[in-house]
């Protein structure tokens, strides 16, 4: 009996491993193909599939900087992302703390209004936003991509509030008795306790901002205000007709790399804080 059970379990593990291996390969193969293509000479990609480039050709990675304003795009994306992540995280954590632990007028109404905004289709927001930005001269600047983000991120507030609700209020009462102000309680008690959840959310906001295509597409137009996604997209529509695939692949690899590196370093925070703050079973 015990032996059959172990055998069944082992078979289960083998089947499960093979399934996950198949899935993992499906996920990673397109990326390897992209990498492989980016290392080929432009005229050598039209034969039968060749996984290891021969010869390995790094020229695409140097050629790309002249072929498109990629450096400008990277610089713009960095400015936008760093500002939104740094300042936005500050605003979001403050709001999350207030919604979780402080008593103030209209708290419930405000929170419900906040959640309701998630339900509004983006297109309903982005059209009138465009008009407002046009009125105040923000079109074709980076401001529409930066300013709203500085004020916080609703999803992040929602997740972090959930997380902070799980932290004992007694901690705050004790600090109050010791004469600590509310900013101090937020800064020196709640922020450190929320580190893992904040880390997971920072990565999500970083990815969303770095990868954003819709915002730059609608609000900016000139090359010197393009973000990296916009640069790649226009490279794509331009060079796809000329079929210089290796060049586009090299550019895409450069655009994807920062996010992949960041995610690989920090991925352990992911499941843990999702388990805490996500949907409860």
């Amino acid at each position: 009996m015990a032996r059959t059970n172990t055998a069944v379990r082992r078979t289960g593990t083998v089947v499960s491993f093979l399934l996950m291996l198949a899935g993992g390969v499906t996920m990673v193969l397109p990326f390897l193909w992209m990498l492989s293509t980016s290392l080929k000479q432009s005229n050598l990609v039209f034969g039968p599939p060749q996984w290891i480039p021969d010869p390995i050709n790094w020229a695409n990675y140097s050629r790309i900087w002249d072929a498109a304003p990629l450096a400008t795009g990277l610089a713009n994306s960095t400015i936008v992302t760093v500002l939104v992540v740094a300042v936005g995280t500050f605003s979001s954590t403050m709001a999350a703390f207030a919604f979780a632990k402080l008593a103030f007028p209209h708290k419930r109404t405000l929170f419900v209004a906040l959640l309701a905004t998630i339900m509004i289709p983006l297109v309903v927001l982005i059209l009138p936003q465009f008009l407002v930005y046009a009125q105040i001269g923000w079109i074709d600047t980076l401001l529409p991509l930066i300013v709203p983000g500085l004020l916080g991120n609703v999803t992040m507030i929602f997740f972090l509030r959930q997380y902070m609700l799980g932290i004992a209020t007694e901690l705050m009462e004790a600090a109050k008795l010791d004469g600590a102000g509310f900013f101090r309680i937020y800064w020196s008690i709640f922020l450190p306790l929320c580190k893992p959840a904040i880390a997971a959310n920072v990565i999500i906001v970083f990815m969303a901002t770095w990868n954003d295509y819709l915002g730059p597409l609608i609000f900016t137009s000139s090359p010197e205000n393009s973000t990296v996604q916009l640069v790649i997209a226009s490279l794509n529509s331009f060079h796809a007709e000329q079929t210089d695939f290796p060049l586009i692949m090299a550019a895409s690899i450069i655009a994807v790399l920062p996010v992949v590196i960041l995610f690989t370093i920090t991925q352990k925070y992911f499941v843990d804080s999702f388990a805490f703050t996500g949907i409860k079973g």
Binding site: A98, A103, P121, I218, S252, A255
Partner: protein, 300 residues
């Protein structure tokens, strides 16, 4: 006396700090959400033209115009088509979450691999997809040819472009779905399984009687978010096609609205369609919440 006064002072300070802390996000909601929505509602009843800068109130004319536009209904059909990925990525997401949860060797590395498509920008994915699914030289068709199948023109053929987009979305979404499901799996109390085992329940029975019901809130959440997101599919269409695809074969409602606003400069019509579309999404979401009472486990 002094304690009471002290408490009052503390309460006042708490209210003040509370309001101060939510001021940034409150400003954001007001300026970038409530004001725009207000504009959107009013503008739908005008014939606003950005270039000319003119507008008059024209009542329901915009609504009549897009509701009688053949392109709008083609786009509506395509938008419904974009719901197809949801059951697929839910299925694979649950499958891989279960594999990860039972401690399959290599789970940690697989988890990173599964996340690669999700963390990459949609622009990079479309770039990659256009090359992979290239009719003549793409890896997919070359591999199909290797087993004797002539692959279709994935990107150019109006009958295939939507399928290509669907495959990409399924592939992209499996990773994040499995993370949500995995988190929900970790929240199922082990005692349920222990009790079931004592009663001699089989693994299959335990899956259908314990695991699946306990996952239902997570599945519901993912379905709701998935439907809201899928109905708004736009970027993929804009990146894959130059004008919505041959015969408008890939254009979605959001694409239709974007085209009206930024290509034809017919803002009034775009606003009317966007407003109508928002109501449809709201309606669909409310119906789902209604239906959810029948199948979502709500806890004791």
């Amino acid at each position: 006396m002094t304690t009471i006064r002290r408490r009052q002072v503390m309460q006042r300070r708490e209210r003040l700090w509370g309001l101060l802390f939510v001021t940034p996000i409150g400003l954001q909601v007001l300026l970038f959400c409530i004001v725009p929505v207000g504009i959107a509602i009013v503008a739908g009843f005008t014939n606003w033209n950005v270039i000319k800068g003119t507008y008059d109130f024209i009542g329901l004319d915009n609504f009549v115009e897009f509701l009688t536009d053949k392109k709008f209904w083609i786009a509506a059909g395509n938008t419904v088509y974009m719901l197809i990925p949801i059951p697929f990525y839910l299925f694979f997401g649950i499958l891989f979450a279960l594999g990860s949860h039972r401690g399959t060797p290599g789970s940690r590395i697989f988890r990173i691999l599964f996340f690669l498509p999700y963390i990459s920008s949609i622009v990079a994915l479309v770039v990659m997809w256009r090359w992979l699914f290239n009719y003549q030289y793409g890896l997919v068709n070359q591999m199909l040819a290797g087993i004797g199948i002539q692959g279709p023109d994935w990107l150019g053929d109006p009958a295939w472009i939507k399928t290509t987009i669907v495959i990409m979305i399924v592939w992209k979404m499996i990773g994040i779905t499995s993370i949500y499901v995995l988190a929900a799996l970790k929240n199922i109390p082990e005692v349920y399984y222990e009790a079931a085992r004592l009663d001699g329940a089989s693994a299959i029975r335990m899956f259908f009687q314990i695991t699946l019901p306990m996952l239902s809130p997570a599945i519901f959440f993912l379905t709701i978010v998935g439907i809201i997101g899928s109905l708004q599919t736009f970027v993929e269409v804009q990146l894959f096609t130059s004008d919505g695809g041959r015969n408008y074969s890939a254009a979605t409602i959001t694409y239709y609205i974007w085209q009206k606003a930024f290509v034809s400069n017919d803002l009034g019509l775009a606003f009317a369609a966007a407003f109508f579309f928002a109501l449809v999404i709201l309606g669909v979401t409310l119906i789902q919440f209604r239906l959810s009472r029948r199948w979502v486990y709500e806890g004791e």
